[in-house]
């Protein structure tokens, strides 16, 4: 069985989900992900004619509640776990405007 997920595709996926992978991890994942894809491919043989897909399996389905103000967490509590010192009550991140940096080719 040929690999469904090539190394190139894997690298592209890793960039999309923002995960840096080492060469060693890539080697391992290339085999494992394809083994798993091969395994789950069994579903093609399932007798699915006339079967509708499930959206909700739970008995409650989705439910809305009234749109009412209620007490919530304090700003300081929410920000307490932030890595950087919060700025004006916001999470602080490295700058994103100015220079566009998009990873190219090899994952760095």
């Amino acid at each position: 069985m040929s690999a469904v997920v090539s190394r190139e595709r894997l690298l592209q996926l890793a960039r999309l989900v923002c995960i840096h992978l080492t060469e060693e991890e890539l080697d391992q994942l290339e085999t494992q992900v394809n083994d798993i894809i091969d395994f789950v491919g069994q579903l093609r043989e399932a007798p699915l004619q006339d079967i509708e897909e499930s959206t909700h399996v739970g008995p409650a389905g989705g439910r809305m509640r009234d749109d009412e103000c209620r007490p919530s967490l304090l700003e300081a509590e929410v920000l307490a776990n932030a890595y950087r010192e919060p700025v004006s009550g916001c999470f602080a991140l490295p700058r994103v405007l100015g220079e566009l940096v998009e990873p190219q080719g090899e994952v760095s």
């Binding site: 491919g41 399996v57 439910r63 509640r65 990873p103």
Partner: protein, 502 residues
Amino acid sequence: LSRVYDRTIEECRTLLDSGQVTAVELAEALLNRIDEVEPTYKAFLTVEERGKVLEVAAECDRAIEKGESRLLTGIPFGIKDSICTNGLRTTAASKMLATYVPPYDATVIERLRAHGAIIIGKTNTDEFCMGTTTEFSAFYPTRNPWDTARVPGGSSGGSAAAIVAGECIGSLGEDTGGSIRLPSAFCGTVGLKPTYGRVPRYGVIAMASSCDQVGPISRSVRDCAITYNVISGPDPMDSTSIQDDDKVDLDRLEAGAEGMRVACVPDLAERGCSAPVRDVYMQTIDCFRDMGVEVHEVEFENIDYVVPTYYIVVPSEVSANLARYDGFRFGSEQSPDQGELWESWMRERGANLGPEVKRRILLGSFVLSHGYYDAYYRTAQKCRSLLKRDFSRIFQDADALLFPTSSDVAFEFGTKLDDPVKLYLEDIFTASANLTALPALTFPAAMTDLGLPVGLQLIGDTKAEETILRLARSFEVHTGISLQAFLAERPLPPTPQERPEQ
């Protein structure tokens, strides 16, 4: 009182309310026990500070004195580390959340505290609950107290091991594909995965939102029912929570099982299980018949599609749910504070997420991607309907399905680590209940000659928690088989730190 840490919730309730033991004494006994055995078992990731535990215990004593004792007043609980506890570190066994201290309680924790329970610590799990052995915990694996060379099962392995080892009286686990039931089977505890929507998910760190469900891991069937009654019920913070608030009636659990109808699958057990599990399964069928249960054989037509369906649905949901871990909003181990935003994210997630988590995120984003969505995700969602149909047919003539929980007893560390597909197949008997939202309970059915417990599973129809608890309770009464009986007959091998029993 000797070994007070080895008692059930019900026994502790009686001891506390009659004044034979105070809540402070009980909490101290457990904290001492933790000091003694934790270096060997490693069931906890965080133990609450002694002073804080004893302070809450003293409050419990005052409540008991005033006659204001509630169901769980003074009962120490171990909580799976994927459930948020206000002010107590919650890591989900990931480096990504290594320093995360939640500013709020999950609804289930609010409910436990409102009923007087004491949160004694946070128990180990596979990272973000992805795994069946605790070997994927980013910190350390938990050892099975019956044989420390073996896994306790997972992902809620810490909770099950802590119960067996006498490190807590009650515990909560969380089950997405078997994570309450597998460790319960491997350790000899009773574990319940309730109907999806019965127990609120608010404050539970999400793995796969359409399958996750919190439930008790307990020393006895009645303890399991008591804990379930406390944590279940509608919650405005969870849009999938079931609106009716049916509780399990503990008196009705004693009504016996005569006339109840149970479906079984001997062919499947024959095909898919090791000799010890198969033998116990067949013996238990005979035992159910002795109890007056009408047992009949059924075919579970599409069981081979359970694991493939599960490993499409779950990674898909994982890839979305874990996108929030960027290293900036929640405490993590590595420093994300270098370079540009994108680089920081890549580096942070690369360094702080473990191998199984990465595997599932990548797999999920692949099966959801353009050109593959129909072939994988849509097909898997159809298979969920197919499995639901199989169960509906079974429940036309049966109150419950008696199923193995695992194909084998607890295995040795490292046995299945290198082959994900082999490890995933551990979920074959458990994941069907998650994919179809059904309640499922594991109960200890036997102890092998090797001294390892075998657990079996009862899957019930939607919202039929009481039915499966009643069947398991009847079995417990009829046979006398329980964790308490196992421990009485064959005490755990002593740990190096343990002082010999006086």
